[in-house]
């Protein structure tokens, strides 16, 4: 009966020619799959900076040790970056100052990215008022200068590790949020997400299977942006005296302290300042490299799919 009829169809048509299969895209776009020279350079800077600060207790002396026989000495072979007004070695203080600055930066960047990611995904998945609310929150955050917010918050609750991290998170989660939100909203409208809804996937299934994997590359980029903005904000706070308190060394705070001797002993402010710049540049370069590698990705995929 019908089965026989159906097979009767096969006979009237010539054998199927093999369908042409497009070659996998990776081969053609091979040059796009690296983070580029700049990105590698940035990564190298970061590895060096982090490595040196992590190994600080093993290699250098005490950042608080004062030596009144060697006050305000210019850089020399004994003190590579010179000494400050209390005779403390600037190199040792820069290295130890990095430990505080980088720890605070890293923790706040992780928390800020996680917060930005979570809010962006919630907005994209639920849409409607959830999306509107998170969007407004971000607008409010952008309207309040983060340094002002930091001054207000820190002058009330005092400046220990947790409040500083909190302030940095508040100041930088919007970066991740906005980058991820735009992409997530586009992905949610893709047909493959609709297809997932039709087969019965819930919101969290869609997030786990489709949304998060597609957003991860962007998150890497957003994270570096977040980290560099957190680092700069942290240094500004230190410079304003709202961050880590002396005598504990911190880059921003050291720059502020060295300002008094900027004409007689410029090295005191110069080297911690350079450290901030170097780290921020490293993060930016890595971020640009990652952006080049990944953000071309989704667009490229779409282009090849057509």
């Amino acid at each position: 009966m019908s089965l026989v009829q159906a097979s009767g169809v096969e006979d009237t048509t010539p054998p199927d020619p093999p369908e042409v299969v497009a070659s996998p895209p990776d081969r053609r776009s091979g040059h796009r799959r690296t983070i580029g020279v700049g990105g590698r350079f940035g990564a190298a800077i970061l590895v060096a900076v982090v490595g040196i600060t992590l190994l600080a207790p093993l290699t250098s002396g005490d950042p608080l040790a004062q030596n009144f026989d060697a006050i305000l000495q210019a850089p020399s072979s004994a003190h590579v970056m010179g000494t400050d007004e209390l005779g403390r070695d600037v190199l040792v203080r820069v290295v130890f100052g990095g430990r505080t600055a980088l720890a605070i930066t890293a923790v706040s960047a992780v928390v800020a990215s996680a917060l930005g990611l979570a809010l962006a995904l919630l907005g994209a998945l639920f849409g409607g008022w959830v999306d509107a609310l998170t969007g407004r929150l971000a607008d409010v955050q952008l309207a309040v200068p983060s340094i002002v917010l930091a001054i207000v918050v820190l002058s009330f609750v005092g400046n220990s590790f947790v409040p500083i991290v909190l302030v940095l998170v508040l100041g930088s989660w919007v970066l991740t949020f906005r980058v991820i939100r735009g992409h997530a909203r586009a992905v949610v409208r893709q047909q493959y997400v609709e297809a997932a809804r039709v087969v019965g996937s819930g919101r969290f299934g869609i997030a786990r299977r489709h949304l998060v994997p597609s957003v991860l590359p962007l998150l890497a980029v957003a994270f570096t942006l977040n980290a560099s903005s957190a680092l700069l904000l942290e240094s500004s706070l230190g410079y304003l005296g709202l961050g880590v308190q002396p005598p504990e060394p911190d880059w921003g705070q050291m720059v502020a302290a060295g300002q008094a001797q900027i004409f007689t002993a410029p090295w005191i402010a110069l080297f911690p300042g350079l450290a901030v710049v170097l780290t921020a540049v490293g993060l930016q370069l890595l971020g640009d490299g990652l952006a080049e590698r990944f953000v071309g990705g989704p667009a490229l995929e779409r282009g090849l799919a057509r």
């Binding site: 009966m1 019908s2 089965l3 009829q5 159906a6 009767g8 169809v9 096969e10 009237t12 048509t13 010539p14 199927d16 020619p17 369908e19 042409v20 299969v21 497009a22 070659s23 996998p24 895209p25 053609r28 893709q190 047909q191 493959y192 609709e194 297809a195 997932a196 809804r197 039709v198 087969v199 019965g200 996937s201 299934g205 299977r209 489709h210 994997p213 597609s214 995929e301 090849l304 799919a305 057509r306």
Partner: protein
């Protein structure tokens, strides 16, 4: 609208068929290579193509996607993409060899002698420019403002645009696809070309509009003595509209001759395949039939019922906000075992209807019931059942698969949701059997969508829909994005699955031949209303509604099928 405009050069060289008119376009041994890595090594993608387009004749270039027909056309138009170059052979245009010329001269000659019409009119027009400005841009340099104004209006008259003034002031998105394509044709004619190059000029258009645009091309060819090179995958269009045809496959011309002869007695296997895949031919071997033992569906209980469903969308245009009525009180009953074809042109609301049925879209008013209960009043259990039993096959096999997931991961999603008890081993076995069912090799499990062809992707899409063990499948134009021969195979697959799995189909298409192949019942939708419904054969042979009649008459390939 009809008086021939005086500025258009009217030649009466429309050669009688058979008479060897002067070729206005002649390709000799054209070979095109691609250099994917920029290293200088060229892989040939078009080899040794020779063809002639005489003045006043239409010549077809037919082949499937990837056959090199579009690259050949682009080479003639001087529009090859950067990594692609003409390696050998000649292009003679209006009596002058183009390939050896310095770039500037070649450009000028091309601009003066070839007019190009591409597939998607909205993509060839600048969305931010008014039609008048775009047409002026296409006129030869040195035209004065005054001349330009007259000429632009004449061109629009020549391509049969009824309201010239309104059109001139409009932006492309305010015009229909058919009107836009006419504008593109007017632009192609702006410099009095000798050759008109039309690359799939009607593929993006509705069938009835298609016929009008092709009529226009015919008329212009006769009136202006143009040589027309019509590039198409649609052998029906080629059969109706061309005098000579060249069949292209894998970068080579495999067969050529007068269209009537080639199609009547194809000598090459590839041509035969193309012909066999024509939907018009499919109905000769109609396979549909219900599963063994089932009753006539007319007696079956209704599985899905739509009552007075309405849906409007707000749209914004330069004229302000407006309401677009997608569905205007649609009623429809689908019984178990039926295969219903839902036919209509773009904008008729058929996709909206399908999306409402599967829950991707909500109706503004009206009732959609599944198994007797309205969707809105489903219990949790009923809802889960509806989710499992009603599945959707998407139109576009490219965007409906997550590019990051392998085939197995895509198929695992519905299995994990609806068959939670499956072990890892059982899951793998299910995936294998699904792949078998849609005739894909099991080794495709680990492939990503980018490593699959369009037809293979659509098979994965079908397998995903089957994974939940559905009883009703809603397929929205599942084959319209595919080549004809691939279409035919997917349609056979759908017909087979229907019998084997005892499925009910709601099959949406703009293509009557496709619907006729698969469905015994037919519903015609126009502007959000059902204008006709009944048994497919009755409706197609004795259409009662004038709109249905127009649809039936507009199907290409009638001269031949």
């Amino acid at each position: 609208m009809t008086a021939p405009p005086r500025l258009l050069t009217v030649t009466d060289s429309a050669a009688a068929p058979g008479e060897a008119a002067e070729p206005v376009l002649q390709l000799t041994g054209l070979t095109i290579g691609i250099d994917p890595r920029g290293g200088g090594a060229l892989d040939p993608i078009v080899t040794g193509v020779s063809l002639q387009v005489p003045a006043g004749r239409a010549v077809g270039l037919v082949g499937e996607s990837g056959s090199g027909k579009t690259l050949t056309a682009l080479a003639v138009a001087g529009l090859l993409p950067p990594a692609v170059r003409v390696v050998a052979g000649g292009i003679e245009l209006a009596g002058r060899e183009v390939t050896g010329l310095p770039q500037k001269e070649a450009r000028a000659h091309l601009a003066a002698s070839v007019g190009v019409v591409f597939q998607n009119p909205t993509a060839s027009l600048n969305p931010r420019m008014r039609i008048a400005a775009q047409l002026r841009e296409a006129l030869p340099a040195g035209t004065t403002r005054r001349q330009a104004r007259e000429r632009v209006a004449e061109l629009l008259v020549a391509v049969g645009i009824p309201d010239v003034h309104k059109t001139l002031g409009a932006f492309p998105h305010e015009l229909s696809g058919g009107l836009n394509q006419r504008v593109v044709i007017a632009m192609a004619l702006a410099r009095d070309p000798k050759v008109l190059l039309a690359d799939e000029p009607t593929t993006a258009l509705d069938v009835s509009v298609q016929a009008q645009v092709l009529d226009l091309l015919d008329e212009l060819r006769d009136r202006l003595g143009l040589g027309v090179l019509l590039v198409s995958h649609d052998i029906g269009v080629i059969a109706d509209r061309t005098d000579d045809v060249y069949v292209m496959s894998a970068g080579q011309i495999v067969e050529s001759g007068s269209t009537a002869e080639v199609l009547r007695e194809p000598r090459h296997d590839y041509t035969r395949q193309l012909l066999a895949a024509m939907p018009g031919r499919l109905d000769a071997v109609r396979p549909v039939g219900r599963a063994a033992g089932s009753e006539d569906p007319a007696d079956e209980p209704a599985q899905l019922v739509l009552e007075d469903v309405r849906r409007t969308f707000g749209v914004r245009s330069s004229a302000g906000r407006a309401q677009h009525v997608a569905l205007d009180g649609v009623g429809l009953t689908v019984r178990r075992g039926q295969a219903i074809g839902l036919v209509g042109e773009s904008g008729s609301g058929k996709t909206t209807l399908a999306r409402i049925v599967v829950g991707l879209e909500r109706a503004d008013s009206g009732v959609v019931s599944y198994e007797g209960t309205p969707l809105t009043r489903h219990s949790r259990e009923q809802r889960r059942r509806w989710r499992r039993e009603v599945q959707y096959v998407f139109q576009d096999p490219y965007s409906s698969l997550d590019p990051r997931l392998t085939v197995a991961q895509t198929l695992r999603e519905p299995l994990e949701i609806h068959h939670r008890a499956l072990s890892r081993h059982e899951l793998a076995a299910r995936i294998d059997s699904l792949l078998d069912e849609v005739e894909l090799p099991r080794a495709f499990r680990d492939r990503h969508p980018s490593e699959l062809s369009g037809g293979q992707r659509q098979r994965v899409g079908i397998a995903r829909a089957l994974a939940t063990e559905p009883s009703l499948i809603i397929a929205d134009e599942p084959v319209s994005a595919l080549d004809l021969s691939v279409q035919a195979r997917i349609l056979r697959l759908l017909a087979r699955l229907r019998v084997e799995r005892n499925l009910t189909y709601l099959f949406i298409s703009h293509d009557l031949a496709v619907v006729r192949y698969l469905c015994e019942d037919l519903v015609v939708l126009r502007q959000g209303r059902v204008v006709e419904q009944g048994r497919t054969d009755d409706v197609l042979h004795h259409p009662e509604n004038p709109y249905t009649r127009a649809l039936v008459e507009a199907v290409p390939g009638r001269t031949f099928a």
